[in-house]
Symmetry: C2
Subunit: 321 residues, 2 copies
Amino acid sequence: MARRSVDVPALVESARAGSPRAVARLISLVEDGHDALRDVMAALAPHAGRAWVIGLTGSPGVGKSTTTTALVGAFRQRGLRVGVLAVDPSSPFSGGALLGDRVRMQDHALDPEVYIRSMASRGHLGGLSFTTPQAIRVLDAAGCDVVLVETVGVGQSEVEVAGLADTSVVLLAPGMGDGIQAAKAGILEIGDVFVVNKADRDGADATVRDLRHMISLGDRTEPGLWRPPVVKTVAAERIGVDEVMEALDKHRAFLEESGELRRRRERRAVDEIESIALAALRSRFARVEGHEGVAALAREVLAGRLDPYAAADRLVEHVGA
Amino acid sequence: MARRSVDVPALVESARAGSPRAVARLISLVEDGHDALRDVMAALAPHAGRAWVIGLTGSPGVGKSTTTTALVGAFRQRGLRVGVLAVDPSSPFSGGALLGDRVRMQDHALDPEVYIRSMASRGHLGGLSFTTPQAIRVLDAAGCDVVLVETVGVGQSEVEVAGLADTSVVLLAPGMGDGIQAAKAGILEIGDVFVVNKADRDGADATVRDLRHMISLGDRTEPGLWRPPVVKTVAAERIGVDEVMEALDKHRAFLEESGELRRRRERRAVDEIESIALAALRSRFARVEGHEGVAALAREVLAGRLDPYAAADRLVEHVGA
């Protein structure tokens, strides 16, 4: 497929000047794994690193988009520029995010200080753990003070995406899963702030109690460490939003005072560098031809003549050459 | 941590002779990423490749464990040896699977021809996409005719785990999500057989209709390709289990006649070899010291002095040495 050439310096300049079209185009380049990405990232690097990245995750139906919309409103009231990435890691094949998120966020669709973008993994190497940090960097370099990353579902990839945030918000709704479900989903470990949304429903207090109990059992209660608060909201009616903002601010202060912000960002940069390096190495696998090519090795493994470790050794030898 | 040494040949022999303890021990080695794994896989390789691997996936609450239990019973009636892997990709941190699955499968807990094992990713390199194929190989080499891999949730990692199966069964329940949800979760693309469980509930027919419609819109309806059937069950009452078995048998026949079985297994072997090779390469990253060490590179990226691609290039140079 021939690719349109890209005037990277002009595009980056437009994005930094606040052009939503330029921002959108840059994120499309990220999604597509475009050849120009390397130049784009080099041009963005000096301008990134300012944005506060907040992840929001939770099962379908807990009200993530409604909560995101409410938070966008609250940050806008502070005069901040806000970016929203609605990430859908559960759809590696569909080649594009569905409409829902964008439609529901139409409150802010016309606000020039709000960038809203749905992203889907297009199945290219590394998936969302590869593209999300790059998309965050685009929004960051474009002057967003806050980037909200909304993820769908509660699988392993969501946990990975949550690892990209400075502050991770986990949303639950009453009756949508007891403490055991939360524990199974691994969300207790990733949440910095827990929000029980739809708190006007039956069982909200029990869910809050359960969560607090589970959190108290976890290993995050040592002195000096952050103890995740649990906040009740009815996001659709903007109830509890101030409390969420307060919890977020406290976490932000904790991140800075404790040095955790620096640690998290360093870990994130390590992951990103390694992901890019691994993708580069992996692309070399496909180029190994003949007897030692990966397809030929796979056939040897299937025939029981080679075990996967020995096959991997041969592949590594070629890549290391 | 000192590791107990392992008598690999004896352990593999015991597992092949049908010792559940030996099988359990081998899977623990897989979960732990034990040093002996390489020898274990080499010893198992000649004996694997016989089992029919069937994946079952779906959201929490659709009745996966009940359905798995019913299928185990049906395969046992045919006199087949059955392995069950209950995989929980949503818990990368908890260091162990919770009890639920095993408890609910107690129907078969005393049957010596049924191996049941819960697995959790312990967060080591590659995660479940790394350990699951190895655990499947253990069960396969131990003489299981069928290996059922049950995954929790519907995130990207579940889609990956589903990619490990010869036949993927997607479970849904009425009212647990409309067609759009299914499409978002990417399950339409991965399902070879769809099961609408709890079909005695309201809305079952609508769910079946929706699914069939969504499937008909997909790109799997070309002549010659498999068109996934939609089967209704009430697994808790063993209703519809024969129909599921019939659909599975048809898919198995399709796999063999079309050559798709071979293609899927080759793709699986490629993925496994690449995962092992990437983990080996990744472990080299951590050993790069000094100025070009990954932590130092991360700090340069955070400071805006280096972009992630340039940092990755330096890392790759070292690994390629």
